[in-house]
């Protein structure tokens, strides 16, 4: 029986009431009395030396309060990078500066040169047009391979366009080379993981509000992690201590990673507000979002898979060029390394793996984490090369994966790329996929498609994900300049209702619905009695925010720990009320009772007693009922799954239609099945978007050719069939209290190779000699592959 409350119930999304009735309060809905507006003058060339910026005429324009250039921000720190990568030779990465406003050079189209603060947006825009900028255009560095071969330098001071040359595990390099040299069969593939624009529905916003009466600044911003922004901006850029800086990220309209990072506009608005003593607001246009929000992916990889003739994986070697763009975005350096290399074992027992990544500066928008962040890049190359190997060896793609799965009795399983998978059951997940995707019925469906002149193909693949990156002491050794715990405060109010404050941030993840389900179960009170506060450094303890599918596994665990403390204290209060020992108190369904007696007190009585402590052990116990916990996980969690997709290809036009898509995921325990379904649906839609539609294309001059929705193709509802998703295969995480894993990115990780595998399958069944097409598999690319 499905439950109607608590863990496992498909509780309706309580956020929807305000979102669907137009009552959401997004960042741009925040306005402060007397606020002024910023317009950033941005570079329209990809690379150039700034000879001069003359703001005199602009400053005299109507409504203009002030005009700033990079020189006006002297003494202000640059935007920091949050992860120090050490290269193959033990040397730290090259870490060039990232000024808030360009100094000396512009390095990508969209780089901010100057900022105008004016009474209105229109006046700020008008004045920006009056700024005279003299830029000596330099050759743009766009192609990664060319960037490493010399020529123009994005950052002159580091003398190279290479950020780092990373090897993992470096000690395995020779053994991997030897295994590949000696292998019975080697399958190689060169592929591109296409560059993407996140395209969150709400463009970024920053509103700085300085309060001179107490010298405090508030920043309202579209962020997935307000505490992280407070720390980075306060400590590294503006030197404002935390107690003088509040960061508020209210309802945020989607992030997909792109709102993790600390952006220049946040620092500028906060600083300008302090200097000008007026609130200062910036709202990105969609066009601005295309050239300022961090982009995603953009890897070029060669992968070699060594196998025995019967399809057992012996070794994997990869060599990747990873585009970092013009500057180091906050977590950009970790994505192609620790979030990518560590996933190269996949769901398989491959004994030897070596990953080489050269990260490159180019005159493009900075690249950073985007839904999946490194893991889709790993999964894509691995599952594509496995598929190719299966075809070369004449082994069924499902079978070759089964032959190499880590088996259920092998957990915990230590991979050759540093991870220890705590649990999983990959054969069971594949069995579930075979069932829900009706793989046995494919042949009949292919025949039916053929009768309509269409080629049908079937793509299958697996993925493993590492969510809730942790523990902090380990990631610290790996170069992270942050902890990766999460916080929670559970405040029980006097009448028994509960307010949960979390350091996680919901920008589509439904935390306001799911977190109360957990607390409701633990306290035995109605979900409706519990609400969640997030997105404001003034109310939640220091937390690390939401990304990497971490919220339930890390933030949910913190809530559990805090709630356990509540229960422990409440039992002591109940024990006092019933004149019993706390050890004898049982708590179930919101009632405290003394074991073996009929004595009981209700939840509400205990709560009221805590705040009206007339009959209370004041000598032993503080009044009140509020607890905070910080949870630092012992390990990642490892969701895994098996996906299948069927496509039809129109060979006349190259058009690909997705006929069916099935996802069998193991997320461990599931708090709210409906919301998990939605997360998987969204992830698959994004993955299909990457596979078939989306592509950020730069020309050789560094102009973004797909800089609007006229040319950047987003997936739409009619691009997708009704999705079949299942998460009944559940191997609970062994090291967090809820046994949960994380589901936010799975769909985006698992789906791109599934779609590509299906298209290649269709073409090969149709007799075409095509073994790979780079994403996106647009109609023209598919047609060119067929006719090429």
């Amino acid at each position: 029986m499905p439950r109607d409350q608590g863990i496992g119930a498909s509780s309706a999304r309580r956020e929807d009431v305000r979102f669907l009735t137009g009552n959401g309060r997004y960042t741009d809905d925040f306005n402060v009395h007397g606020q002024k507006y910023v317009h950033f003058l941005r570079s329209d060339v990809a690379h150039g030396r700034i000879r001069s910026v003359n703001t005199l005429a602009a400053a005299a324009m109507p409504g203009v309060i002030a005009v700033f250039t990079g020189e006006d921000l002297e003494g202000i720190g640059g935007l920091p990078c949050g992860w120090l990568v050490t290269d193959r030779h033990g040397e730290p990465m090259n870490e060039p500066g990232h000024p808030v406003l360009a100094v000396g050079k512009v390095r990508h189209v969209g780089d901010p040169i100057a900022a105008v603060v004016a009474d209105s947006v229109a006046e700020a825009s008008d004045a920006a047009e009056a700024i005279e900028v003299d830029i000596e255009e330099l050759p743009a560095v766009i192609n990664m391979a060319a960037a490493l071969e010399g020529g123009s330098l994005v950052h002159d001071e580091i003398g190279t366009n290479l950020c780092y040359d990373w090897g993992f595990v470096e000690d395995s390099r020779e053994a991997v080379d030897a295994a590949i040299a000696e292998a019975e069969h080697v399958t190689s593939l060169e592929l591109v993981n296409n560059r993407l624009v996140a395209n969150a529905m709400e463009p970024r916003v920053a509103l700085g509000d300085y309060n001179a009466s107490n010298d405090e600044s508030t920043l309202y911003t579209t962020s997935q992690n307000p505490h992280v922004i407070r720390l980075l901006m306060g400590a590294f850029v503006l030197q404002i201590p935390e107690h003088k800086l509040r960061v508020v990220a209210p309802d945020v309209g989607g992030g997909f990673g792109s709102k993790i990072f600390h952006y220049a506009e946040e620092a500028f608005c906060t600083l300008a507000s302090r200097r000008l003593r007026v609130p200062v607001k910036w709202t990105a246009s969609r066009s601005e979002a295309f050239v300022t929000d961090a982009h995603g992916r953009d890897h070029v990889t060669k992968i070699d898979l060594a196998l025995s003739k019967d399809g057992k994986f012996k070794a994997i070697r990869t060599s990747t060029l990873a585009n970092l763009g013009a500057y180091l975005s906050t977590f950009s350096t970790s994505v192609p390394t620790w979030l990518h290399g560590t996933l190269m074992a996949g769901n398989y027992t491959t004994p030897l793996v070596y990953v080489n990544v050269r990260a490159v500066f180019t005159n493009t928008v900075p690249v950073d984490a985007y839904r999946g962040a490194g893991r889709p890049e790993a999964t894509f190359q691995l599952e594509r090369v496995i598929d190719k190997a299966a075809r070369e060896l004449g082994i069924d793609p499902v079978e070759i994966r089964r032959r190499n799965f880590v088996q259920p009795d092998q957990f915990p399983y230590a991979t050759p790329v540093a991870l220890e998978y705590d649990t999983g059951n990959y054969p069971a997940t594949m069995d579930k996929l075979v069932e829900i995707a009706d793989l046995d019925g494919f042949a009949a469906r292919a025949e039916e498609s053929a009768s309509r002149g269409r080629l049908r193909g079937l793509g299958v693949n697996c993925y493993i994900e590492a969510c809730g990156i942790a523990p902090s002491n380990l990631v610290g050794q790996l170069g992270a300049r942050a902890g990766l715990y999460e916080s929670a405060t559970v405040r029980v109010n006097a009448t028994g209702s509960v307010t949960v404050m979390t350091g996680c941030h919901s920008h589509g993840q439904s935390h306001e619905t799911t977190f109360p389900q957990v607390v409701s179960d633990m306290l035995g009170i109605d979900e409706g009695q519990i609400n969640v506060l997030h997105g404001d450094t003034a109310n939640a303890p220091m937390g690390m925010g939401t990304y990497g599918s971490r919220s339930i596994a890390v933030g949910g665990s913190a809530i559990v720990r805090a709630t356990e403390k509540i229960v422990a204290k409440a039992k002591r209060i109940a024990a006092h009320l019933m004149e019993a020992s706390a050890d004898d108190i049982e708590f179930a369904d919101g009632v405290f009772s003394v074991a073996g007696t009929d004595k009981s007190v209700a939840w509400g009585d205990v709560c009221l007693t805590a705040y009206v402590p007339h009959n209370y052990p004041l000598d032993k116990l503080e009044p009140g009922l509020e607890e905070t916990a910080f949870y630092d996980p012992a390990n990642f969690t490892f969701p895994a799954g098996a996906y299948a997709c069927e496509v039809e290809v129109d060979t006349d036009t190259g058009a690909v239609e997705i006929c069916s898509f099935a996802a069998a995921d193991d997320f461990g325990n599931v708090i709210n099945p409906m919301i998990v379904d939605g997360q998987v649906h969204g992830g698959i839609a994004q993955g299909v978007g990457q596979a078939l539609r989306e592509h950020a294309i730069y020309d050789s001059n560094g102009q973004l050719l797909t800089g609007s929705y006229m040319d950047y193709a987003m997936p739409r509802a009619d691009d997708l069939p009704s999705l079949v998703v299942d998460h009944s295969c559940q191997t609970p995480c062994t090291h967090n209290p809820l046994g949960v894993k994380g589901c936010g990115e799975a769909g985006a990780i698992g789906s791109p190779p599934t779609v590509v595998n299906a298209v290649i399958d269709a073409l090969q069944r149709g007799g075409y000699d095509v073994d790979h097409i780079d994403m996106p598999l647009s109609p023209s690319r598919v047609w060119e592959a067929i006719n090429g």
Binding site: S125, T653, A655, L692, T706, D711, Y712, P779, E784, N787
Partner: protein, 261 residues
């Protein structure tokens, strides 16, 4: 957006008078112009709206033709031409999304002559007449190149007269991002001739594929198109498709349109 004056005349004469003002620009549904203004890519001094001129709206159907007022929206065409001219109705019903179809107008689309727009193909393939405040212009003489037409400075389209073919079909292969026509083929079979117009494909904008017309006039069958091809050098090449790809799509879409007639 830059500031501008806004005029909303109620008669064609008043609109023409307003358009003679310095820096005046006509706005119909605004589906191209408004985004252009918002991006500060145009700075008219005066915007003259056609939205309040009732004589520019509406559709009249006679036995041989459909006459569509210039300010009639795509949604209205989709609805009102459904019986008399289903191919035109279908074309209108597949432009953009509902918001676009309820704002965008026939006259706006034809006057703008976007190289990927649908209506120019219908006008050219039916041999439509573009009727303005001062004259009647044959479609063959109207479309002069991308975003270029035979309209004079302050000339205003008042209606478009589409002859109804014996059979017609429009096949649009959508550009994946914008869903404009990457290539659109409108085929009209009249009693004495066949007309084929292609949009989206060529550097010079919408054009008649005369070779295909000749072959189809001789024998109206998809097979008549075998071996026929437009000149690849005339095609557009961009991130959505090469010249070779568009050349192929012209043939495929035309064939499909003939088959669907």
């Amino acid at each position: 957006m830059y500031s501008f004056e806004f005029e909303r005349p109620t008669t064609i004469d008043d609109a023409v008078a307003a358009l003679s003002r310095s820096g005046a620009q006509v706005i119909a549904g605004g589906q191209t112009l408004i985004p252009t203004l918002k991006n500060r890519l145009a700075s008219p001094d005066v915007l003259v709206s056609l939205g309040a001129i009732s004589e520019l709206r509406g559709i009249s159907v006679s036995s041989g033709s459909v006459v569509v007022g210039a300010a009639t929206t795509h949604a209205e065409v989709a609805h009102s031409a459904a019986e008399a001219f289903p191919a035109l109705s279908g074309l209108a019903n597949n432009i953009g999304d509902p918001a676009v179809r309820n704002r965008g107008t026939v006259g706006g689309s034809i006057a703008n002559n976007d190289p990927s727009a649908c209506y120019p193909a219908a006008a050219l393939a039916t041999g439509a007449t573009i009727i303005t405040n001062s004259r009647r212009i044959a479609a063959d003489d109207f479309f002069l190149g991308i975003f270029e037409t035979a309209l004079d400075e302050d000339e205003l389209i008042t209606s478009v007269e589409f002859p109804i073919p014996a059979a017609a079909n429009y096949q649009k292969f959508e550009q994946p991002a914008s869903r404009f026509a990457l290539v659109g083929a409108f085929v009209s079979r009249f009693d004495t001739c066949v007309r084929v117009a292609i949009t989206g494909a060529a550097d010079s904008g919408v054009f008649r594929w005369s070779e295909a017309e000749k072959a189809l006039t001789a024998s109206f069958s998809p097979d008549s198109l075998a071996g026929l091809s437009v000149e690849a050098d005339d095609m557009i090449s961009d991130v959505h498709g090469s010249q070779a790809y568009r050349t192929n799509l012209v043939a495929v879409m035309t064939r499909r349109a003939v088959a669907a007639c």
